[in-house]
């Protein structure tokens, strides 16, 4: 057989990396070529000697210095905080997903507001098929679901809009309600005037408490101003 072909495969043969057919051909060549047969034989011996010697070298291996383990412990001590923080590509990879979720939520919200909803929703079909008693029994749970998923078909878009905007029902005393400014005049009176009026009222009350005999006319000018302001306020709101 061809010596060049075999030469390129000596190492593969030694490490058993030839295919079955190739190995057969190679071994046939070894039987015919004493030079390559000697090379393979000698190589095997060398590898065997080296491996035996390695065992000795391995046993001689020194222990690692305490300073190496110390370095490892020091590194570990500073580590956990860094590990929790994801790599920046991970942080960026999360972004499209978050954006998609936000977009989906916005779309659902818009769809609810406009009153578009998919026809033949499987969930709705089964709900309609349920006997009335069952519906009654699960009514408390379903009230909200129904409001969200299927507004009564009779309701106009405008009504539905109002209802859906009421969705997260707050008690009448919720912060939003309390904060709501008095529609009568807050929109026309600048804030500093409101505050001034308040201050004057307080001063008047104090005076009343301190000198009950003088009464509300203790400072006629001030009360006059207040009265005039509130009158202006009323006229302006009524104007349009």
């Amino acid at each position: 057989m061809n010596c060049k072909w075999a030469e390129e495969r000596v190492v593969d043969y030694l490490y058993d990396e030839l295919s079955a057919e190739e190995r057969q051909v190679f071994e046939k060549h070894l039987a015919e070529c004493p030079e390559h047969a000697r090379e393979v034989e000698a190589s095997r011996k060398i590898l065997g000697l080296m491996r035996a010697e390695d065992e000795v070298a391995r046993e001689e291996a020194p222990a690692l210095a305490a300073s190496v383990f110390q370095a490892a412990r020091e590194r570990s001590a500073t580590k956990p905080a860094q590990v929790i923080r994801p790599a920046f590509w991970q942080r960026w990879a999360l972004r499209p997903a978050a954006m998609a979720a936000v977009l989906a939520m916005v779309l659902v919200g818009v769809a609810l507001l406009v009153g578009i909803r998919p026809k033949n929703e499987p969930g709705m079909m089964s709900e309609q098929a349920r006997p009335a008693e069952v519906m009654k029994a699960i009514a408390p749970v379903n009230v909200q679901n129904e409001q969200q998923a299927s507004p009564p078909p009779a309701s106009t878009t405008a009504e539905f809009k109002r209802e859906s905007s009421d969705q997260p029902r707050r008690p009448a005393t919720s912060r939003r309600m309390r904060k709501k400014p008095d529609p009568a005049c807050s929109d026309v009176r600048p804030k500093h005037l409101v505050l001034r009026a308040k201050r004057q009222r307080r001063r008047q009350e104090k005076r009343r408490e301190g000198k009950p005999s003088t009464g509300p006319a203790a400072c006629p000018l001030a009360s006059l101003k207040v009265r005039r302001l509130s009158a202006a306020c009323r006229t302006r709101t009524l104007a349009p």
């Binding site: 080296m50 291996a61 020194p62």
Partner: protein, 201 residues
């Protein structure tokens, strides 16, 4: 009850990267000997090998973040060891005169080195060599290989890396790596036979 599976080197490395110092100790215990034998064969001196062994593990600690889960720990660790050995030998070479390992012709990386010419056949063959003599012979023969052949030989034999991975580490095609392995074996054989070690059956 199924036997408790030992964590892989890569698992341990991930644990260490996440702040578990115990995982590092386990890794060090697993690989200290193999890496030492590799370095000792590479540089040929015990004291140097001891120092370099410590350096390798210090570097493993320092660059634990650079370890990628996809790669094999042994490949990574032995690459560190190999680079440190090469750095060390380069520094030495600068201090010393022309190395016997240098190729005869410029630009020639494989094949015969200067040693092939100066080695004498009449180096007092002493058949019936005892173990100590065999060890020095092997160490000398290894030290006389050129760097490229030696690193391939050691990465395959000592570190147990497949040829494909060695090719990645040294940045050469697999076939070149296999050729270097063959030349390494041929050179070792020539040296041992020159020293009177009969390798023929």
């Amino acid at each position: 009850m199924p036997p408790v599976k030992k964590p892989s080197d890569e698992d341990l490395m991930a644990q260490f990267a996440a702040g578990d110092a115990q995982a590092f100790e386990e890794l060090a215990e697993r690989h200290r000997r193999g890496i030492y034998a590799f370095i000792l064969r590479f540089v040929g001196h015990r004291n140097t090998a001891d120092d370099l062994l410590q350096d390798v593990f210090v570097r493993i600690v320092r660059s634990a973040d650079g370890f990628e889960q996809r790669s094999r720990f042994t490949t990574w660790a032995y690459t560190i060891a190999r680079n440190l050995c090469i750095d060390h030998l380069r520094k030495q070479k600068h201090r010393r005169h022309k190395s016997l390992d240098q190729p005869l012709r410029k630009g020639e990386n494989e094949g015969l080195s200067l040693m092939d010419q100066v080695a004498t056949k009449d180096a007092g063959p002493d058949r019936g060599a005892d173990n100590a003599r065999l060890r020095t012979l092997l160490a000398d023969a290894m030290a006389e290989l050129n760097e490229e052949q030696r690193e391939v030989f050691l990465m395959r034999e000592q570190a147990g890396l497949p040829f494909a991975e060695i090719a990645d580490v040294v940045g050469a095609p697999v076939n070149t790596v296999k050729s270097r392995m063959r030349y390494a074996l041929q050179n070792l054989r020539a040296r041992l036979e020159a020293a009177g070690m009969g390798l023929e059956p």
